[in-house]
């Protein structure tokens, strides 16, 4: 196990991934905490609140992923969907 872990690229090792995640959490916290020192002059008042950018970014991504997921049930079709009605697939 140890040997296999050593043989893979250092970025792909579980221990490195764990370290990267820790650094990422730290960066996230820092980006919000920095607002205590640097004031964000918002254009519309709300965007100057503490952590607004963070919450807005996270929540709009959540909304978009959920919207995509929901629309996916309606819109997703198998890759060969259009092939049935058009020219015959020549690699089938």
């Amino acid at each position: 196990m140890k040997a296999r872990e050593q043989s893979d690229h250092w970025l792909a090792r579980p221990s490195s991934v764990k370290r990267i995640w820790r650094a990422f959490w730290g960066l996230l916290a820092l980006s919000v905490a920095a607002q205590l020192a640097i004031s964000i002059k918002g254009h519309f008042r709300v965007d100057g609140w503490l952590g607004f950018g963070a919450a807005f970014g996270f929540l709009s991504c959540l909304a978009m992923v959920l919207a995509a997921k929901g629309l996916g049930y309606l819109l997703k079709r198998h890759e060969r969907y259009y092939d049935q009605g058009e020219e015959p697939a020549d690699d089938a």
């Binding site: 893979d8 690229h9 970025l11 792909a12 990422f24 960066l27 996230l28 980006s31 919000v32 920095a34 607002q35 640097i38 004031s39 964000i40 002059k41 918002g42 254009h43 519309f44 965007d47 952590g51 607004f52 950018g53 963070a54 919450a55 807005f56 970014g57 996270f58 709009s60 991504c61 959540l62 909304a63 978009m64 992923v65 959920l66 919207a67 995509a68 997921k69 629309l71 996916g72 309606l74 819109l75 997703k76 079709r77 198998h78 890759e79 969907y81 259009y82 092939d83 009605g85 058009e86 020219e87 697939a89 020549d90 690699d91």
Partner: protein, 567 residues
Amino acid sequence: MTLELIPPGLALLLGALLIGLVRGALRSVVVLAAPLLTLWMAWQVPDGVAFDIAFLDYRIEPLEGSPVRRLFAIIFALMAFVGGLYAYRHARWHELAAAHAYAAGAIGVCFAGDLITLFLFWELMALTSTFVIWSGSQRRTRSAGIRYAIMHLLGGVILKVGIEGVAVHTGSIDVQAMMVNNFDTAMILIGILINAAAPPVSAWLSDAYPESSPTGSVFLSAFTTKTAVLALILLFPGEPLLVGIGLFMVMYGIIYALLENNIRRILAFSIVNQVGFMVCAIGIGTEMALNGAAAHAFAHIIYKALLFMSAGAVILRTGLNRCSEVGGLFRTMPLTAIFGIVGALSISGFPLTSGFTTKTLISQAAADETLEFTYFTLAAASAGVFLHAGIKFPWFVFFQRDSGLRPKDAPWNMSAAMLIFAFLCILLGVAPDLLYRLLPYPVDYAPYTAGKVLFYLQLLLFSGLAFFLLLPLMKRTETISLDADWLWRVALLGGARAAYAVLRKAGHALEGAVNRVARKLRKLAARHMSISPEDGRSGVFARTWPIGATALWIAVLLTSYVFVYYL
């Protein structure tokens, strides 16, 4: 005739012709030299109309310069050069020739002083870009190219209808700002918006571009939609309709890219998303907004081509097109991965990249006009861009899981092309004044204030968090997503087939009825007009009648005629 009077696009057009005629090293020289010559010539074009030619009752102005026209021509020429460097060892000669002519068309549109010239180059682009698509060897290349050509020729016809109308009704064919208040200008706007991949016909882009060759999609990503952006800047600045259309495109691109599995189709949807930012800015129409649209188009061509180059190198080396088939490629393609990540960070608008210094111009313009909804939608979209292109593309292609693939890194010329564009992405992010100086209006804007940087860092970092937390919801499936083109690819085709079946049945029924009537008539005729072969009895018209009977009948006929005449 001095050099300033030669339209720069001609150099590329000449290059396109020469590529087919020369071979070997000389062809490579032409591929690389023609765009450089064009770039230099585009830089020299002076402001104003250089010369005009009388054509029928109109003044044709093939060469009109202005800062925004030069800006677009310069980036198109640069794109043709770096794209040529990327492609020249791998693309077939006809793809390179078509790409040169395609770029010449785009540059021709840039300097078109009148609508007739604009239309001619517009159509040159439609034709030559179709040949770029057809140079691909994907399974669906042929049919996708046909659908692409139909859409663009249709768009050309609509544009032409509008141009004819404007020419007849106003007597002027100048390229100048218009209002959408009559049929003619509405047709021009629709014709241009089709090329901008606006709804409801956005699907032509994501349908056709991923079916081209790995090198062809690099050229395709740059010219068509961005000439449409320039045409909108020149013809419809401040048209309020464009704000809504732009916001729709921004969201459409994100949602469809999130659903997509094909690597290049993700990037294609992301073009629609990015062009949406520009269209929205043109709709806002202030000097700041138009600067933003132009700057963003400039930066976008660079980072989007870089992303397509990175994807193209992966497809060239692995032959695979889908996210679900690749992964973990950073091990053996580190350069391609790094360049792809630079492109991804730029498109997401990370501070110190060109995306940040150009996209925030548009946000600032929305804020200046207190367009609150527009501003926050664009902010959400900026987060969404990071989600669908900024992380999704590099993550699924280069990381994700170990697919076991160990392809070689990109060939040297591809790496060199990517290096140039990656360098420019960062250069324009670090020294934005280089670009701001070229913009159509004076720029009074400081992109790097501590507050703004912090706001965007929060926005983007937490979007990244959302991506990794929501990964289970974004599992790749081997699917495509239905789009408005379903209406013609399935509904219209099905309708046409059903109508054909109904008509064929009706035709058969009619034929049967006619045959039956004819048979009956024949039988009737046989009975009354011939002598039966069996019993020798004659039909009523086949008998021999005595003269007396005939005379009697004629007398009756004449009497009744005289009677009726005097009545």
